[in-house]
Amino acid sequence: MSGCNINRLEPLNVAGESTVINFKFNSKKYRGYKGDTLASALIANKVDVVGRSFKFSRPRGIVGHWSEEPNAIVQVGSGAGTVPNLKATQVELYEGLEAKSVNGWPTVNFDFMSLVGVFEKLMPPGFYYKTFMYPGRFWMLYEKYIRKAAGLGKVPVDSDPDYYDKENHHCDILVVGSGPSGMIAALEAGLSGADVIIADDQSEMGGSLLYSNHSLEGKSGFNWAKLLENKISSLKNVTVINRCTVFGYYDHNFLTMIERCNDHISVTSKSGPRQKLHRVRAKRVILATGAFERPLVFANNDIPGVMIASSVSAYINRYKVLPGASLVLCTNNDYAYKTAIDWKSEGNNRITIVDTRRAVKSELINQAKALGIKIIYGHGVTEAKGKKRVQAALISPLSANGSELIGGSTEIVCDVIATSGGWSAAVHLNSQTGVKPVWNRNIISFTPGKTNETQVSIGACNGSFNLIDCIQEGSEAGALMSKNLGFGKGKPKEKIALDKSENEHPTQPIFCIPHQKPSIKGLKQFVDQQLDVTAGSIELAAKEGFESVEHVKRYTALGFGTDQGKLGNVNGMAILANALNKSIEETGTTMFRPAYTPTTFGAIAGRDVKVLFDPIRYTPMHEWHKKHTKEFENVGQWRRPWYFPKVSEGMEQAVARECLAVRNKVGILDASTLGKIDVKGKDALEFLNRVYTNDFTSLTPGRCRYGLMLKEDGMIFDDGVCACIDKNHYLIHTTTGGAANVLSWLEMWKQTEWPELEVFLTSVTDVWATATISGPESRKVISKICRDIDFSDDNFKFMHLKHGTVAGIEARIFRISFTGELSFEINVPSRYGLYIWSKLIDAGDEFGITPYGTEAMHVLRAEKGFIIVGQDTDGSMSPSDMGLSWIVKEGKKFSFLGERSLHRSDLLRSDRKQFVGLLSNDSKTHVPEGSQIVTSKKKKFPMKMEGHVTSSYAHGSLGYPIALAVVENGHQRLGETVFSPQADGSFVDLKIVSPVFYDSKGERSNV
């Protein structure tokens, strides 16, 4: 392993120990240290090319040191636990880590796409809309190719081996970011007694102090931060969460953050959840999210070795890595001089500072001068030379405002070009609350827009880039926000002896350094490196007429990458403003939305996966069902037996057998899931008359009636049997899936419109277990185990209910029928459900009792033409459409819900779709549900669709397939032949018939 760590200045030291770590990148073995990120270890090992660019496949190196990184996108791990699209700058090194570049084929050092070269011309901005438009049918082909070429990481195929947790918090103050301003704010808030959470996405507190060579109160910034960290950690009312990215800021101070609990730990020693989603409701929020240093844009600025100035400092000071052998630093501000001083302090003299400004004076500049660092004023780097690594920088003199070159170029040999175009405040979270960032031309950055009093931005994210200001703002905000909540007096408690701010020479507003050739025609000047957006492409977009920044963003894809344009956005907007001849204030910025950085779906799902995704409801008889079938159907949250196959029976045979058993002998169904609402109170009858189409005035105790509910628009909403249990006491049945909606709907009318009615609604679905026995022998079965009721037709009539004792249990028995056969629905308290079921099975044995499932239930009701709301209706069907006018009692004392709408012109149309039956002409072909109905086989597509099949069953008790459908003016078209086109090009010939296929006089249930 020769040549390893050649850029390393000294072994990296964490808590007094330096631990060597072995890792692999693109299958090669390397060594780093504990405390490294993958990026710092790669730089230490002089790995220049870490990826290929998205569109042009150009070689790319590491640019930044944290979440702003656009290039070093890697896939970590393998198999089911592999994670795509991580930024190498944020991946903490651990023993055995394996990472790969996500772009580049066959390798990042030899990429086929870049060799072909044709791609560049095919991909101007908006290339999706231009190049690949025609012919339209080729888009599918293009898309496949483009996606393969673009190739971000690969998602694992297998299910995630890790698990994730969620935690909810309610706190007084949430501090986002633990840089200098956030830390001091949290300390002040904590000292005042407020309940505080401080979250930061790095592994330790300190923010910029972790790498910048500041001294504070006579200590290094790093040591000062450690001291502050100890003070904060000693406070019991402050919770510190590191490795935790606050990625979403929603209404009413609700914030979501993801803690990476063990992504930094080697696979073998991991335990606990991989990540945790913290959901925080904070009374006050202090945003201290810092700022990103902007790169300067120039030609070929994507060659590996071109880096952000502060990132170079971070690698030197925090990771003890010098990213190269000779440095050209191009800046428009003072702050970046620190990077040159850091470089110099490592004993390397090969430094040239190229400052775009002239006649600049400040303490930092003097410091650099005193160290003997070469400074060239009034110049800019116009172009980088090199292929897979910077070899030289070309510099040229600039006009005073930096807009033009005023002389020829000079070449400076170097292998690192660090640039600084000033700082951009990280206004993302503030903007997520719906606030548009405001351009501040004095500091050349967007700053947070005006917001409400429960939120404040402090420090660099507020546009205060000076450390002294950051600390002051933090300390004031911490004390003030606490006082707002009644903690402390609003005066900072921690005294910090701050030096005076150093004087600074103003930053020059320059974003893109001009080149000898114009941007559109010349060498590529990259603005957004992740998506290969260049200054030229933004100018071209402006030329093509795009003016809104939101449109340009979408046309060029500026800021669409996984880095969300953290480096490129402001430069892009400045270049657009310049091309449009407008100010940045006028062109404005795009808004930011969650998530701040890419977020793991697993963490958002948490434990709510697989069986915990949605509750499953079982009926009291489920234990019996489990022993007799494996075939269940999900109905809403309920799990119901679908059919009960005998050995060697398929579904078709089983369902047909079950149907015939009901028609000829007796079947038994678990109907416990049917929605049941108990309605009580002196106005119960009045209430029912208002919500049902029926007139229930004549519904006396002991009687049942089928009823229909409409929405106010006159469309069928629910149906079911309503039973009068006693005076002022009713039980209404709803569809299984609609029970909750119906209850909520009824509650709404009762509470909001008719509060004067004394009526009480209670869901009793789970209170009762229901076994339905159906078929000609059902009377004999129930008579055997219920002796206190006379089941003769004279005594216990159809559509009546009786109370009795079934196998020793008090029961309600309804004589109602959903199959068309003689039926009894036996209701007992749920805890007796299984018992009663077994007793009925035993009692029915001699009569051949056959359990049937939901499928046979559906077939049997379809044979009778009974509708299922939500299957045969879809929210656009009126009672008359469904042939149910017979239960609509118009002209009741109170106009029931939906009655008025039945007279709307649209409901009186004669060509409305109406409910009919369909039989295939050959009595054999089964027409699939959802099939369309047309009137001719000969016309050309598209042809008029006259209806569709709502229910269709191939096998039942009749021996031939039947279907239910809604067809235009169908009630008048009985006997007509229509056709149903199928996906394979064939047609099914169908005859329109009555939807009642069996026992049309209804005699069988009435015996």
């Binding site: 719906g434 409400n452 509470q751 009655e899």
Partner: protein, 96 residues
């Protein structure tokens, strides 16, 4: 994610516990059969969408199951007040 004060539970609770129930203060016509198609259509289909405070009904569906009214700023989502069904809002219009 709104934080909503339920005037019946007398507590601030998370939006997840509630469901939206449409515009508030819509009175069902006294005698529906006597009014024109147009009036009925207005009652049935037409709803406000103000760039201002909107008075709307919410149901504490995973809580006390009561319906109540909320005055919510449609721009900032700030909730100005919540009040019982039988009550009138204190704030009718927020902007001039």
């Amino acid at each position: 994610m709104l934080l909503i004060y339920c005037p019946y539970c007398k507590q601030y609770r998370d939006e997840e516990e509630f469901s939206y129930a449409g515009e508030a203060h819509i009175k069902r016509p006294q005698n529906p059969l006597a009014i024109s198609d147009e009036s009925w259509g207005n009652y049935l289909f037409f709803r406000k969408n103000p760039s201002d405070v909107h008075h709307e009904m919410w149901n504490h569906s995973s809580g006390c199951r009561q319906f109540f009214n909320v005055a919510r700023d449609m721009i900032t989502y700030e909730i100005k007040e919540t009040y019982c069904i039988s009550e009138s809002p204190k704030i009718e219009k927020y902007k001039k």
